[in-house]
């Protein structure tokens, strides 16, 4: 066992910390879910890109530093500790990019990756449909072959597409074999949201902001060079080993460490907090710490070549419940102030509403428990 961080990583941490201290906006940027806020966050992504901090794990040619997962964890810790803006590009960078490295052609990489890193293109995901939520394999949006034009005509509807209200491109799964069922006959497509036939209808979230959208497709043409991986292999492409890495990178520990530290701070500022709440604060802090260790441990094993499997489901269960608890505890510390939206600590309320989505998106926790039970514990399918 060796829990010392090598000097190169410490130096990287120092560089990130210093840059963030100098560059993180003093005032929070306006909400991501407004046109001006979206633009401001896009500008922020570009500044990160210029400092080569937007995509540290990517190859240098696409704006990265070729850093490994451990460095990425260091980066995220510093990023969240600094209170830096939400990453508007995160769907592309964390969810699409790992699949691109595995399945994209050189041409596709050249076409998309630098633009993604520079936030020229902001990506939205196209997974869920009205009839396919937890049961993703039930999806029905179809892409019919158009041999004449050399591509696919897409019809149907996606929903719960985060950031789609203002995003530029979408990645997602579509049924290219009309006779197929379930996981078969699906293809992974990339398509611009300003293509003819695309209609984006923003959906307001709990907080009233259009954080996600429905996207309707009416004979939208997608050329063959926007197919990722093989036709008909979309499920495999989407669920490939990199899925697991996404499971690991979806919610970096730095995020919860920062929340837990803020919670401790709130508790210290609260006059005579109830002892039971103090216990909850302590438990939340410890669990954020435990989450960090688990992710570090999994990342280290990944670096040694061990495939990440259902750990990502355990991971998701843990962080999503932790996030709700952190915010619930904060609201209980705030007492009657908890639901006042102009309160100086109202950020906790926003955070609470956001945390409530955690057990739902990226596979509901019910689905994740099934995964752990069936794939890790090898219990029989229901």
């Amino acid at each position: 066992m060796d829990l010392t961080l090598d000097p190169a990583r410490e130096a990287f941490r120092a560089e990130v910390r210093e840059w963030l201290a100098a560059n993180v906006p003093a005032e929070p940027l306006p909400s991501l879910d407004t046109p001006s806020g979206f633009a401001a966050h896009r500008d922020w992504e570009r500044r990160l890109f210029e400092a080569r901090l937007a995509v540290v794990t990517w190859p240098e040619q696409y704006g990265g530093r070729g850093a490994d997962l451990l460095d990425w964890l260091v980066f995220e810790e510093e990023y969240w500790a600094a209170g830096a803006p939400v990453r508007v590009g995160q769907n592309g960078i964390f969810l699409l990019a790992p699949t691109m490295w595995e399945f994209a052609t050189e041409t596709q990489l050249d076409r998309f990756m630098l633009r993604m890193a520079r936030a020229d293109d902001i990506w939205a995901q196209g997974w869920s449909e009205p009839g396919a939520g937890s049961d993703l394999a039930a999806l029905r949006s179809r892409a019919d072959r158009d041999d004449e034009r050399g591509g696919w005509r897409v019809n149907g509807q996606k929903t719960w597409s985060t950031r789609a209200a203002y995003a530029d491109w979408m990645f997602g799964l579509f049924r290219t074999d009309p006779d197929s069922a379930r996981h078969h006959g699906l293809t992974y497509l990339l398509l611009p949201l300003d293509a003819p036939g695309v209609t984006v209808r923003p959906i307001r979230q709990l907080d009233g902001e259009p954080g996600f959208a429905e996207v309707f497709f009416d004979d939208v043409f997608v050329p063959d060079d926007q197919v990722l991986g093989e036709v008909g292999q979309g499920w495999k492409v989407a669920m490939s080993t990199t899925t697991s890495e996404r499971g690991l990178t979806l919610r970096p520990p730095g995020r919860f460490m920062a929340s837990a530290d803020r919670l401790v701070d709130l508790c210290r500022r609260t006059s005579s907090p109830a002892p039971a709440l103090v216990d909850d604060v302590v438990d939340a802090w410890l669990d954020a710490d435990a989450y960090r260790l688990y992710v570090q441990s999994t990342a280290l094993e990944a670096l040694e070549g061990k495939p990440i499997g259902a750990e990502s489901s355990a991971n998701k269960l843990f962080w999503s419940q932790l996030d709700v608890r952190i915010h619930e505890t904060a609201l209980r510390l705030l007492g009657y102030r908890a639901t006042l939206t102009d309160d100086p600590d109202a950020r906790w309320l926003d955070g609470y509403l956001f945390s409530l989505a955690g057990p739902i998106y990226a596979g509901t926790n019910e689905v994740q428990r099934n995964v752990v039970a069936e794939r890790v514990l090898r219990l029989p399918r229901g």
């Binding site: 709990l206 007492g335 409530l356």
Partner: protein
């Protein structure tokens, strides 16, 4: 012995439910939530609804007959307030019950002047503490009853500066009230905690109704929403969460009934029983909100779906009139003392 309200009270509650089903359905509620009304006196409320509720006797329910009310006791109010909760009614219901109880207990000129108007739905009363005071329904109030170290003041709207305080719950009418004691009426001496206990019972009843409504929404959705080829309500993961919600709420209701009785009869256990009710109902409703959201998943997370208004009212009401921490401490003092007040009944 009877651990439910009398039949006439239950019939009255049924009438209130009927009225609200008609006059405060979720479209009406949504319109009130999203209204661009700028007059704080109206903002967040359903136009004309309070008067209709007054016409059938809601605000006057527990006002003594001498003051123009129906003179029912607090136990009769519980089923009515459950209905208010079920509808997520954005009106000053808790404040009316507690404020009129305070006035009736105090008596005197202020009671004589205001209670008949409150019972008739012509005036709104709100209650709070301190100066400045953060007071629910203050935006809508004609009369503010404000407890201070030395006395309870009856402050007319015109004598106070009321700043609306934005809340997650658009139907709470909360405001920050600054006022001057000089020149205001003072109520005859009375224990302000009695009215607080009434408010706890009223809020607890509302929370039970909110929980029932959210459970109903979730059950209905779980029956119709299909995934993996069958209704999601056929999966144990969903079933068992909903069963737990049912149990928590079913066990909260008798606690609320009992608290109404103890408070109405000024029993020694009244503060403990009122706090127990607020605590149990608040926890049951918070559990119902979390579970209903998880069962609805994405659709429940949208502003377009009704659920959010019930959830936000639940969170707000659970934190108002003393949050769980406050009430557990209050109960602890009563339970751990050498000679705790006897259990009721």
């Amino acid at each position: 012995m009877r651990l439910r309200p009398e039949p006439d009270a239950l019939e009255f509650a049924a009438a209130v439910r009927e009225l609200l089903t008609d006059a405060c359905d979720s479209d009406v509620l949504r319109a009130a939530w999203d209204s661009t009304e700028t007059d704080p006196l109206r903002r967040g409320r359903v136009p004309g609804l309070w008067k209709r509720l007054a016409d059938i006797g809601v605000p006057g329910l527990t006002v003594p007959e001498a003051y123009g009310g129906a003179g029912m006791d607090l136990t009769a109010a519980v089923p009515v307030y459950v209905e208010a909760g079920r509808a997520a009614l954005p009106e000053p219901v808790v404040e009316t019950l507690a404020g009129s109880a305070l006035l009736a207990a105090a008596g005197g000129d202020v009671a004589a002047e205001w209670l008949p108007r409150i019972a008739a739905g012509d005036a709104v009363v709100a209650i709070g503490q301190g100066n400045p005071a953060l007071i629910g329904a203050a935006q809508w109030a004609d009369l503010l009853l404000i407890d201070t170290d030395d006395a309870i003041y009856a402050v007319e709207r015109t004598a106070a500066a009321i700043h609306p305080e934005p809340s997650l719950d658009h139907g709470i009418g909360i405001g920050r009230v600054t006022w001057q004691a000089a020149g205001q009426s003072v109520l005859p001496p009375v224990n302000g905690w009695d009215a607080f206990d009434v408010a706890c019972v009223a809020a607890a009843a509302e929370l039970v109704g909110l929980a029932q409504a959210m459970l109903d929404m979730a059950v209905t959705y779980a029956r119709q929403r299909e995934q993996f080829g069958k209704p999601i309500g056929s999966f144990q993961a969903v079933k068992h969460q909903l069963a737990d919600v049912y149990v928590a709420n079913a066990f909260a209701l008798p606690v609320v009934y009992r608290a109404a009785w103890s408070v109405a009869h000024h029993l020694p256990s009244a503060p403990r029983d009122a706090s127990h009710a607020k605590l149990a109902a608040g926890q049951a409703a918070e559990r119902a909100a979390r579970t209903a959201l998880q069962v609805h998943a994405g659709i429940g997370y949208t502003y377009e779906h009704d659920l959010h208004m019930w959830m936000k009212r639940t969170w707000t009401l659970a934190a108002a009139w003393g949050d769980a921490t406050f009430h557990r401490d209050r109960v602890a003092a009563a339970v751990l003392t050498e000679n705790p007040p006897p259990r009721v009944p």
